[in-house]
């Protein structure tokens, strides 16, 4: 009788091993071989789940998306509309070691997608994450508008693009120079930006 394998549990185990390798040694260190060693499996068993480097990177990226979604889903909407919006936006920013590891995976993924010639599946994945963050910015601004917190005359489509670009730029800066672009400075800058949109409304 063949051994019954719980594939979901195995994927979860690989995900955890992958994540330990990425946090400890960086995304470039993540290969089928290193992850198998980390999980205590054979390379062949790991390769069953992701046959090549691209599959592995896609798997890592899925994991990042899931982690961010889980955190965003767990946020309790307490406090002023601006405070709530800030709490959501922070989940997309690499403000601690855990989220910096996520950002590094995203960056490696992005660079690989850009470097691919032709229409790759990686680019689709980049689009999904990119569009997800834009929709989050959009929905937060609409929530602020519905709460009557935004000042008059704002073009919400333009403000969505601005906020989205600002978040991605700040994420990049927090990753490039964490000593300069610290978590408190980034929070302060983001709060100030939202305040220019709400102009003193709560």
């Amino acid at each position: 009788m063949p051994k019954i394998v719980d594939h979901a549990a195995r994927r979860e185990e690989i995900a955890e091993a992958l994540w330990r390798v990425v946090r400890r040694d960086g995304i470039r260190a993540a290969s089928v071989r290193t992850i198998a060693a980390e999980a205590g499996w054979s390379a062949g068993a790991v390769r069953y789940y992701f046959p090549d480097q691209e599959g592995l990177l896609s798997f890592a990226m899925d994991l990042v998306s899931r982690r961010v979604s889980d955190r965003v889903g767990a946020i309790e909407p307490k406090g002023s509309a601006t405070t709530i919006a800030l709490r959501y936006l922070e989940e997309a920013l690499p403000l601690d070691a855990e989220r910096r590891a996520e950002f590094d995976v995203w960056l490696a993924f992005m660079a690989q997608a850009r470097a691919e010639t032709g229409a790759g599946t990686l680019q689709e994945h980049v689009d999904t994450v990119h569009n997800g963050l834009r929709r989050l910015c959009e929905s937060l601004l609409h929530s602020l508008a519905e709460a009557g917190a935004l000042r008059d005359g704002l073009d919400l489509r333009r403000e969505t693009e601005h906020l989205h670009a600002l978040i991605d730029g700040l994420a990049l800066h927090a990753a490039i120079q964490p000593d300069r672009s610290t978590a408190p400075r980034i929070r302060q800058l983001l709060r100030h930006h939202l305040e220019t949109l709400t102009a003193g409304n709560p």
Copy 2:
């Protein structure tokens, strides 16, 4: 008598071959072998100038810095203070195929620097480019202030960080989704941002 080699001219030739490969096939296609083939040289001769993949990437990055500096240096400061500032900022944005190739080199470089463990020379290079763009943002805002174009009460240090992050975020978006983040939309968004700082002053 040994053959006299003009090293500067040879580096220039390699730079041109490298750039043709990057534009045509992407940064990942750039290797000592492909560049040698493009330049019509032996791999050994190319390797004399950059011994490994990291040297090659640094060389490509130097080339990008030089290209941006040359363009920025060639700008004639005509028009209103805001128009001039916009002209400078645009040079850092991947708004055409040429600058998108530059951005891809930068992104690959960044991702590799982030993925390196320990203090790498790549990170120093990333810092140089990063600090260069921040100083450009800073000096443009100070020029606007000296011209009396900025509205009162702005915190120039914060506005520098905001502008810098916005530029990097917009650059990322123009590279990820060029069909959505088009050159006209990005120019418009950037002009609007500067207008919120000048509040109607020219």
